[in-house]
C-alpha cells in the first residue's frame, strides 16, 4: 500500500529535517520580543491585545479572529471591549500622585471611566496596595463587576495627606470584540499539538510576556521544518479566551493529541510541569521524562482544577491532554502579580531552558514509535556489526551499549520507545539514537511498518 509505505519513508525524512533551535539564540530573541510586549497595556479585550498580536505578527503569520461582544460562548458571553487612554490622581496641591503613563499596573484592569473630585476617605475605597510588600504595585482586575480602582505602592498610599483628590480614568467599556491570535504550522498529519499562552496581562514580564514571546519564536522556528504533527498556536485572554476558542472550534478539538499551556517561563525557578486531567496522557509522560532527564530541578505535579487555561481544555466536557509548563509555580514567588514581575525578573537563559524542555517533548512526539526486534531469539551479535565500543572505560560507549540492549530486549511490539526509556530510566534521545543505529544494521523495524509489510 503505497500511502503507508510513503508514511514510513516520510518518517525518516521528518527526523532528518527536525532541526532543533539554537536555544541560546532563541532565548535572546524571546527576551527581546518579551521586552517589546512588556509596555503594552493588555486586558482581556481591546487595543492592547491587538497591538501585542501585531508585534508577534512580525514573526509569524498570525490570524486574529474577533469575537463580537455578546456572542454566546458556552456558559459565557464575549465581554465588552475595554480601552484606556489615560488616567491619573492629582493631590490637593494639584500635583499628579499616580499616573497611568508611569505604569499600566496603576489602573485596575477593566475600570469603568471616572472623572471627578473626592476626599481621600472616599478615594481610599478604590486604592489597592500590598502592605506586606510596600514598594510594589499590585496587579488587580475587575472583569465581572463594573467598578474602578487604582493600584499603587503601600508606601505611596500611606503618605497621602487629607484633602480632595482629582481622579481621572479616561477609559471606555463598550461593545466591541474579544480578539485572539492563532497560527497553524501544518505537518503531514492532521493530528495537532496545541501550544497556547494567555495574552490578557499588562506589564508583567513573566506572566505572560514570556509565554507569548517563547511560543512566537518557537512557531517561527517551525516554519522552516517539515513535521509529522501540525502545531497550533493560540494566544488568547485568560479563561474567556480559551472558552471562546473552544466554542468556535468545538468540532475539531478531537485533532488535539497533545497540548501545553505555557505561562511564566522566563524566571529562574522550576521548571514545573502540571499534568493534564487525564494524568497519564502522552504529553504527561513526555514532559515528565524530559524534566526528569533535564539539567535543572524539575517538579511534576498532579492536575488540580485551579491554574491557567488548562482549566478550560481540561474541563470534563473536553478533557483534552493539555498540561501546563511554567518555571516557578504561580502564586508561590513574591514577584507574582506585582510590579516586580518586570524585565529584570526574566532572563534569556531561562527562556532558552524552557524552550528546550518544550522542544524535547516535541522531538518525542515527532519520533516516538513502537520498535520491533527482528532478531529476538537471544541477543543478536552486536560485535560483528560494529555496535560494541572497542575500548574499555568509554563511558559514552557503555551508555550506548546499554541503550542497544534495552531497545533490543524491550522491542517486542508492545512498547513505544518512550515506554522503553521510562522502563530503562535512560534519556529518550539516547534510546532513539540506539534505535536508529539498530535499524540501519537491519536488527530493528517499526512495528507498524513491519505489520503493514506482512
Amino acid at each position: 500500500m503505497l500511502e503507508q509505505v510513503t508514511q514510513g519513508a516520510m518518517q525518516d525524512a521528518v527526523d532528518r529535517e527536525l532541526r532543533e533551535p539554537d536555544f541560546a539564540e532563541a532565548g535572546e530573541r524571546s527576551y527581546a520580543l518579551a521586552a517589546g510586549l512588556f509596555p503594552i497595556c493588555r486586558s482581556i479585550t481591546g487595543d492592547g491585545v491587538r497591538a501585542s498580536l501585531a508585534l508577534m505578527r512580525r514573526h509569524i503569520a498570525l490570524t486574529t479572529p474577533e469575537v463580537p461582544t455578546g456572542t454566546q460562548l458556552f456558559d459565557w458571553t464575549a465581554p465588552k471591549e475595554w480601552n484606556i487612554r489615560r488616567a491619573h490622581i492629582k493631590g490637593p496641591d494639584g500635583k499628579t500622585v499616580v499616573d497611568f503613563a508611569d505604569s499600566n499596573l496603576h489602573v485596575q484592569s477593566y475600570s469603568v471611566p471616572v472623572a471627578g473630585t473626592m476626599p481621600l476617605s472616599e478615594l481610599r475605597k478604590h486604592l489597592h496596595t500590598l502592605p506586606d510588600q510596600p514598594d510594589l504595585i499590585p496587579y488587580r482586575t475587575s472583569y465581572w463587576k463594573e467598578t474602578w480602582g487604582f493600584c499603587l505602592t503601600h508606601r505611596q498610599a500611606s503618605a497621602l495627606s487629607e484633602g480632595d483628590y482629582e481622579v481621572l480614568i479616561d477609559s471606555t467599556l463598550a461593545d466591541g470584540a474579544l480578539t485572539y491570535g492563532e497560527y497553524l504550522h501544518e505537518g503531514t498529519s492532521e493530528d495537532e499539538f496545541l501550544l497556547t499562552a494567555h495574552i490578557c496581562h499588562p506589564s508583567l514580564a513573566n506572566d505572560n510576556c514570556s509565554g507569548l514571546a517563547l511560543l512566537t519564536i518557537l512557531a517561527e522556528h517551525l516554519k522552516g521544518l517539515r513535521t509529522r504533527l501540525s502545531y497550533r498556536f493560540v494566544f488568547s485572554p485568560g479563561t474567556v479566551g480559551p472558552i471562546a476558542w473552544l466554542a468556535q472550534n468545538e468540532a475539531h478539538v478531537g485533532r488535539i493529541k497533545h497540548g501545553l499551556v505555557v505561562a511564566g517561563v522566563g524566571d529562574g525557578g522550576g521548571p514545573t510541569y502540571k499534568k493534564s486531567r487525564k494524568g497519564n496522557s502522552f504529553i504527561d509522560r513526555a514532559m515528565a521524562h524530559v524534566l526528569k532527564h533535564g539539567l535543572e530541578a524539575p517538579a511534576v505535579i498532579d492536575f488540580e482544577p485551579y491554574g491557567y487555561d488548562e482549566r478550560q481544555f481540561c474541563s470534563p466536557g473536553f478533557d483534552l491532554p493539555v498540561g501546563l509548563l511554567q518555571r516557578s509555580r504561580f502564586g508561590t514567588f513574591p514577584q507574582y502579580h506585582t510590579s516586580a514581575d518586570n524585565l529584570d525578573f526574566i532572563a534569556p537563559r531561562h527562556l532558552a531552558g524552557s524552550l528546550q524542555a518544550i522542544w524535547r517533548a516535541i522531538e518525542i512526539a515527532e519520533t516516538n514509535f513502537t520498535p520491533l526486534n527482528l532478531s529476538p531469539k537471544g541477543e543478536p551479535q552486536l560485535g560483528r556489526r560494529g555496535l560494541y565500543s572497542a575500548s574499555g572505560g568509554d563511558k559514552d560507549g557503555a551508555m550506548r551499549a546499554m541503550a542497544y540492549l534495552w531497545v533490543l530486549n524491550q522491542a517486542d511490539g508492545t512498547r513505544t520507545l518512550l515506554g522503553i526509556a521510562e522502563r530503562a530510566g535512560m534519556p529518550y534521545h539516547v534510546l532513539l539514537a540506539a534505535a536508529r543505529a539498530l535499524t540501519r544494521v537491519g536488527l530493528l523495524a517499526d512495528a507498524a511498518t513491519s505489520a503493514r509489510g506482512r
Copy 2:
C-alpha cells in the same frame, strides 16, 4: 417514573433531616451508660448479658434472641450458659483473701463450680497474676476447656502464706442459652449499615462497655431521624456471638452494605481503623477519609485475621465489608485486659470523638452520590452566580472556590463525591456543601437522577 423521582426528592429530605448528634452531650450520656454497665459480670452467656441488655433497653427497643445451648452454629455449637453467684478464697486464718464481690475479674470467666480446701501449692495452679504489673488483676477466660481459676494481683498472690485455703466458686455451667441484643433502625432502603459491639467482657470499661454504650446512644439518636440506609445494631458475645447471628441471618447478610465493629472507643489513643478483608470497600474508604480529615492522630491499618468480631464477618464464606473502629490498638496499651481498664481509663470526650468519626462515615454513606456537571464545556461562570467570594484573603472563600472547581471538574458521571474528595484531598463535607450550592444554581445534578430523566 414516579418512584424514582420520589427517591430523588427523598434524598433531599433525608439530607435536611440528618441532624447530627450533640457530640459532647452524647459523649457524656455514653459515659454514664458505660458506667452503668461496668459493674455487671458478663460472660459469653448468662444473666450478666441479660442484665446488660436490659440496661441498654432503656434507650432503644432491643430484641434479645436466645439461642439454646447445643444449637449448631456452622462449625460451632451454642455453649452452655454460665452463671455465678459468689466466689472467694479464704486463708489458713479463715480470713477472706479474694472475694468476687470486690471485682468480677477475680474469677476466671466460665469457671466450673468448686468448693473445698487445698494447700497453697495446689491452689497456685489455679491462680493467675501479672508479674510485670504487680498491682493489676488480669482478665482471664476458659471458654473451651472446663476448669476454674482466680485472678488477683501479683503482689497479693506473692504475699500468701503456706497453709490450707478454702476455695468456693458458686457457679453453674449448664444448658441454657446464648443471648444477644439486636435493634434495627429502618431507613427508606433495605440496604443496611451494621454496627456491632461485643458484650462478653465483665468489668472492663474500654473493652467493651465503651462500645456497647456508644452504639446504644447512637441508635437512640437515630430514632428521630429519617435515613436512607437501615442501621442494624448487634450486641453479642465475642466470636460465638457473631457466628450465631450470622448462622441465624445467613439469608439476609447480603443486605449489609457497610459495617463497623466498635470496640475500645473510650480511651485517648488513636483512633485506629482496621480495614475490612476487601480492603477497599466503601466503609474502608469512608473511614480512611474521615480519619484523615479528623482532628486527632489517626491510623488506618490493613486487614489481618486476628482482632475482634470482624474476624467472623470477614471470614471467606461471608467476606462482608465490615471494618473495626477502636482508639488505641487492642493489646498495645498496659491497661488492656486488666483491672486498670476501668472507668478512669475512658472519658466522655473520647467517646464523643469516636461517635463523631462514626457519624461522619454515616453522613458519607447517606449522602454520597455521583454528580454530573451540567455545563461541562469550559468552567461555568461562577462569578455571575455569586459563587465566587468577592474579597481576597478570605481563606474559607478560597477553600469553597477550590471545592466548586474540583466538583465541577470531576463531575463527569464516573466518580462519586467521595471519590472526588479523595482525589482533591479535601474534606467530604466541604465538597458536599459545594455540590449542594452548585445543584441549587442548576450547574450540577445527580448522575443517576439525570440518567433517569433522559
Copy 3:
C-alpha cells in the same frame, strides 16, 4: 478420575520425600568441587570446558553435547575451538617474566598463537594491567576479534626494562566444537525448573566455579528425591552457550516454568536476586519471598538487559521466567574479574547460604497450591481440634495461631499459599505447616483437587 486423584496423593508423597540438603555439608562439598575446578583453564570452547565437565560428571550423569564450529545459532555461529598448551614472556636477560603455568589469567582468553621477539614498546600494546589495583592480574578475553595479549600485575608491567622480549603463546584457534553439559532430574511432571551456570571463565573462584559446583551438588542431592517438577541443569559458556542451548531446544523451551541463572554465589555479599524480564513471574515472587525472610541482607533488583545468561533466556523471542541469583552484584566488588577472585574469596558457609535460598524456592515451587477453606462461614473452632496453643507467652504458638488464621481467612480459592504468605508477611514454610495441619483435621483442601471431586 483415577489419574487426578493419584496426582493429589502423589503430592503428599512428594512433600514427605522432599528431604532438604544438609546445607553446611553441601557447602563444604561445593567448596571442594569449586577448588577442583579452579585451576582448569576454561574458555568458551575447548578442552578446559571438557575437563571441567568431566570433574562434575563424578557427581552427576552429565551429557556433554558438542556443537560443531560454524553451526548457525540464531544470529550467531558456533565459534572456533580454542586450546592452549603453554605461554610465556621472556625478558632481555632470557629470564621468564610471565608464565601461563603460574596463572591461566596471564593469557588473554582466545589469544591467537604468537611466537617471536619484539621490543618492549611493541609488547606493551599487548599487555593488560589494572593501574588502580597494581597487585592484581586482570581477566581479559577477545572472543570476537582475533588478537593476542598477556595480563599481568601493573607492578610487574611497570618494572619491565627496555629491550627485546621473547613472546610465546602456543595456542590453537581452529574448527572444533562448543561443548556444554546438561543433566535432567525427572519429576512426575514435564514442567521444568532450569538451573544454569556459565562455564567459560578460567581461574575465577566466585565467577563461576561457585555456581558450577553449587548446582552440581544440588543436582546430586536431587538424585535421591522424588519431585513434582523436573530439574534441568545446563552448564555452558556465557552468552553463546545459552544461545546454542536455546537453538537446539527451541521446541521445548515452553516446558521451562521457572529458571535461575546462578553465578557468583560463593562470596559474603548479598544475596542479590535479579528479576526476570516478566518481573512478576512465580520465580520472581518465590525468590523475593525467600530472600525477604532469610537471615542475610538481601536485595531484589529489577530486570535489566545487562548481566549474565538471563540475557538470553529473557530475550524477547523467549521471555522465559528466568532470574539471576548472585551474592554481591557482579562488577561492584574489587575482586571482580581479577586474580583476587580466588579460593580465599569464597567460603563453604556462603555456598551453603546460597544453596539454602535456592532450596527454599524449590520447596515453594514443589509445594505451592491453592488452599480452600472447607468451613468458610465464620472461623472454625480451632480449640476443640487442638490447634490453639494452650499456654500464653508461647511465641511460636502465637505465630502458629496467626498462620492458621491467615490460611483459613484467605483460602477462598483465589490465592495460592505463596500469595497468602505475601499478604500475611509471614514465611511460606510457617504457612505451609499450618496448611498441612489444617488439612489433617479436615478444615482445608487443595482447591484443584476439591474442584475435581465435585
